[in-house]
C-alpha cells in the first residue's frame, strides 16, 4: 500500500509516494538516492542513519517515511556542499574527527542537532547526547574537540 506524502527534503518541497512500511532511511537512500545517510544496525542504536527532522536528530531507520508528512528533513547532502561546508563539517575536517567515515554523516547531523538545542554544551552533555552515535574507529576525542571549537566561537 502506498501513500502520497509532502515533505521538505534538504530545502526542496517534494511529493513522495511511499509504502506504508517503508522507513525514512529507505526512501532517502533507495528513492531519493541520498546515499550519505547510512544503515549500520537497523534498530536505532548505532546512529549512522541520523538525519534532522524539524531540526531534531532522528534515527531514520526507525522512522516510517509516512510520518515525515509536512516535516522538514535535512540530510548530510543538504547541510553543506563542496566549497561551502557547514561549520560543523568544517570543524570535523579541522580536527580530523573521523577515520573510515561511515558513521560521519550521522555523527555530524547529531552534532548539528545538539547545537540546535544547546549552543554551549559542557563535556558531560556532549558525551550524553552523542552516546547514540557509535564510531567504531574510536574517534571520539576529536569529535569532542570539534564541538569545543564550535562552541568557543562567539
Amino acid at each position: 500500500m502506498r501513500h502520497l506524502i509532502n515533505a521538505n527534503v534538504n530545502g526542496r518541497e517534494r511529493e513522495l509516494s511511499v509504502k506504508s512500511n517503508q522507513t525514512l532511511l529507505e526512501v532517502l537512500r533507495d528513492d531519493l538516492r541520498l546515499k550519505g545517510t547510512r544503515e549500520g544496525c537497523s534498530v536505532g542504536v548505532c546512529g549512522s542513519c541520523t538525519v534532522l527532522v524539524d531540526g531534531k536528530p532522528v534515527s531514520s531507520c526507525l522512522m516510517l517515511a509516512s510520518n515525515a508528512e509536512g516535516k522538514e528533513v535535512l540530510t548530510i547532502e543538504g547541510l553543506g556542499q563542496a566549497g561551502n561546508l557547514d561549520p560543523v563539517q568544517q570543524a570535523f575536517l579541522d580536527h580530523q574527527a573521523f577515520q573510515c567515515g561511515f558513521c560521519t554523516p550521522g555523527m555530524i547531523m547529531a552534532v548539528k542537532g545538539l547545537l540546535n538545542e544547546n549552543a554551549k554544551p559542557d563535556e558531560a552533555e556532549v558525551r550524553d547526547y552523542l552516546s547514540g552515535n557509535i564510531c567504531r574507529c574510536g574517534t571520539y576525542v576529536e569529535v569532542m574537540a570539534a564541538i569545543e571549537d564550535l562552541t568557543a566561537k562567539p
Binding site: R33, K35, G36, T37, R38, E39, G40, C41, S42, V43, V45, C46, S48, T75, I76, E77, G80, Q81, A82, L85, Q89, Q90, F92, L93, Q96, F98, Q99, C100, G101, F102, C103, T104, P105, I108, V126, R127, D128, L130, S131, G132, N133, I134, C135, R136, C137, G138, T139, Y140, V141, E142, V143, M144
Partner: protein
Amino acid sequence: MSAVGSSTPRVDGDAKVRGAAQYTADIELAGMLHAKALRSPHPHAKLVGIDVSKAAALPGVIAIVTRDDLEGLNPYYGAVVEDQPVLAMDRVRCVGDIVVAVAAEEREIAEEAVELIEVEYEPLPAVFDVVESARAGAPIIHEERFETQAAIFREQLNLNAGGNVCSVFRAGDGDVDAGFAEADEIFENTYRMPPVQHGHIEPHVATAVWESPGRLLVHTPCQNAVGLQEQLARIFNIPESGVRVVVPHVGGGYGGKTHARLEPVTALLARKAGRPVQWVLTREEVFLTGRRYGAFVRMKTGFKRDGRLVAREVDVFYDLGAYALSGPANAKTGSYVASGPYRVPNRRLTTYAVYTNLPPAGPYRGVGVPHVAWAYESEMDRIARHLGMDPVELRLKNLLQEGDVFVTGESLVSVGISDCLRQVASGIGWRGREEQSNGAREGSLRRGKGLAVIMKSTTTPTASAASVRLNGDGSVMLLTSSTEMGQGVRTCLAQIVADRLGMPVERVTVSAPDTDVTPYDKSTSSSRTTFHMGNAALRAAEEVREQLLEAGAQGLEVDKADLELGADGVRVKGVPDRGLTVPQLLRVKYGDSVGSIFGSSNFQVKGGLDPKTGKGKAAAFWFFSACGAEVEVDVETGKVRVLNVATSVDVGKAINPLQCWLQNEGSMLEALGAAFFEEMVFEQGQPVNGTLLEYMLPSMQDHPERFQSLLVETPHPEGPFGAKGVGEAVIPAVVPAIGNAVANALGGLNVTELPLRPERIVAALAEREASTR
C-alpha cells in the same frame, strides 16, 4: 618541505564530511537485484533435502542457488585450508551457515522467498567448547581435509593434527624441565578470552556482475582485493585476470573484511541471474559471519626470587568456529610471543587452532596476541605482587633488548619496548611498588593503576607492489591495492610519494584497489601496509625521480648530482631559476611534452618459520607497545570508571603523527569494550546477543576521562623512513593493563575471565571474602 613526519590532513576528508564518499552499498548498477540467504538454524546437521519450488514461483524472484549450482565449480574455498563451501554441501556446521541464496527484483521479495524455502535437516552432535573440541572423541566437524593451494601455508604450518584440531604450532628453546627445576617458584594459571565482534559499522556487502561468461566484476569492502580475486577465480574456474575486484570506500574493517565472506555466493547468484546482484548483510547476519577467536590459555611460569623468569610453558586453544579462514596462521602468530616480550631462557609454547560448531571467526586487530597477552601480563603483575617488586621494575628486568636473539632464532631490531613502558608509566603517574597496595579509596570507591607491555609480529613472508605515474601536468597517481578503511593509508602513502618527489601532498592521488589496474598486494592486514606498501611506493617514486633527474641532466647539460626536485620539476641546486618543468622534462625525454613517467616496484620480505622447529624469521618487523591505565572500581556495584589511559607504540617513525594517534585511540577503545562488556554469547551454538541492541559497542560515554597516545621512534633499518606500523600495535596491551589496574584497585584480585562485567567483579570480591573468613 618534508611531507613525511607531519600530521597532513586526510586526503579523503572532504568527501567523508560531505557524505559523498561512496561505499559499496551506495553503488547501484543497472538492473541490479537484491540478495537474501536462508541460513542454518542448526549448529551441526546433515543436509537431507532442499525444496525451493514455492520460492521460485514467487513473482520477482530471478535466481535461487543451492549446492546443485556448484556442480562443475570448485565449491570449497579458504585462505589456509579449503574447508568452506560457497553454499552448504552435505551438512551445515554452524548456526548461520548459508544453505540457499535468492536474488530478486526487490529486497522484500527476496526476504519473502527465503521464507518459502523448505529444508530438511538431520541434526548431528555438536561441540562448542574449544578445549572439549580438541579432545579425542569430540564430534568431528570436517570429515575430509582439503589441502590448501597456497604453498606458503603448506610449507609453514602443521595442518595434519587430526580430529578437530586444524593446526598446531610449536615454538621453544632451552630445557624447559631443567628451567622449572631451577626456578624458586612456579605459578600456573588459566585464562579465558571470549569471542567479540569486529563491530565495523558498515556491514559486509558485495555487488557482483558477470560482464561475460569469463568476466566477473565485484565491488566489495575487502581488505584483500588480490586474495579475493584469486579465490573467486579458483571457485569459478576462470583465470585470475577474468576477475575484477574493486574496493570502494570501506566503513571499517579491523580484520573482519580480510577474507572472502559473502562474495562467492553473491557472484554465484549473479552468474545464475545474468544480472548484477547486491547483497548487504543485516547486522544479525554480521554476527553470524565473523568474530574474534575466543581462546583458552594455560600458562606455567618459573621464576627466581630476584624476579628473573627462567621457564615458561604455554598452551593456547583458539576457537576457529566452523571454518578456518586464516586461523592456523593467526594461531601461529600467538605461539612464539606466548611467553611475552621477555628474556625467558627455557620455554615450550604451543598453540592449537581448533574447529567448533560456532559461526566462523577470523583475524581481528591483534589476531592471536591479545589472548596470550591477557595471560602473560596478568601473570607478571601476580608475580610482582608475590615478590613485593614494582611491576615496572620486574618488567624492565626481563624485557627484551635491541639485538636479543628471540625464541624463533632471529635477532630483534627496533626494540623500543622499555621506552614504551617508561612512557606509559609516566603518563599515568606511576609511583612504583606502592601502586599494588595503596590505591586511593573513598567510600565504596577504590582506585588502581595497571600496566602491560606486548610484542607482535607482522605476517611474513609477504610482498607488496606499487606503481607511480607522473602525468604531464605534474600530478601524480599512485596505483596500489592497499585498502583505505579509515586507517589513513591513502594519506600516508601520498605523503611518502610526495616526500620522495619533493612535491606537495595534494598533487598525489592514491588509487582504490582495482585488480584490473593496481598491482599485487598480500593484504591490508597485520599493520603491514606502511612498511611494505610504503617501501614499494617509495621505490616506485624513486624510479620516477631518477628519470626526472636524468632528463634534467640531459636538458640542462649538468651533472645529475647537481640537480634537485622541486615542486614544479627539476632545478639546479642553489640556482632556483635554472630548471625544467615537468612538461619540459617530458619534451627532453620523449621529444614532446605529452606522456607520463612511470615507476614501479615489487617489495618483498622473505622469511617465515620452519614448522618442525619453530625457527626462522617470524617477522619483517616487530611491534612493541605498552599501555597504562587508571581506574576507579565501586566495590558495591562492581562498576569500573576509567580515569586515564596512556598508550605507547614504537612505530619506528611516525609518517603522520595524528593518524598514529587516531589508530591508537581506536585500538584503545575497542579494547575497552572487550575489557568491560563486549562478549558474544552462545547457547548450544545459538547466538544470544546477536544484535547491537544486546551487544554494546563503546560509545562516547565509555571513552576514558583522559587519553594519551604516546610514540617511541626507534627507526627500523628496512622501514620507509624508518617506519614500521601502528594499526593494531597497542590493542593487545590495553585489556591486561585494565585488568591489572582493576586488580590493584582491589588489592590483588585478578579476575581471569573477560569481560570484567560488574557482576563478575562483585562475585570475585564475594568469593575472596568468603575464603578469608
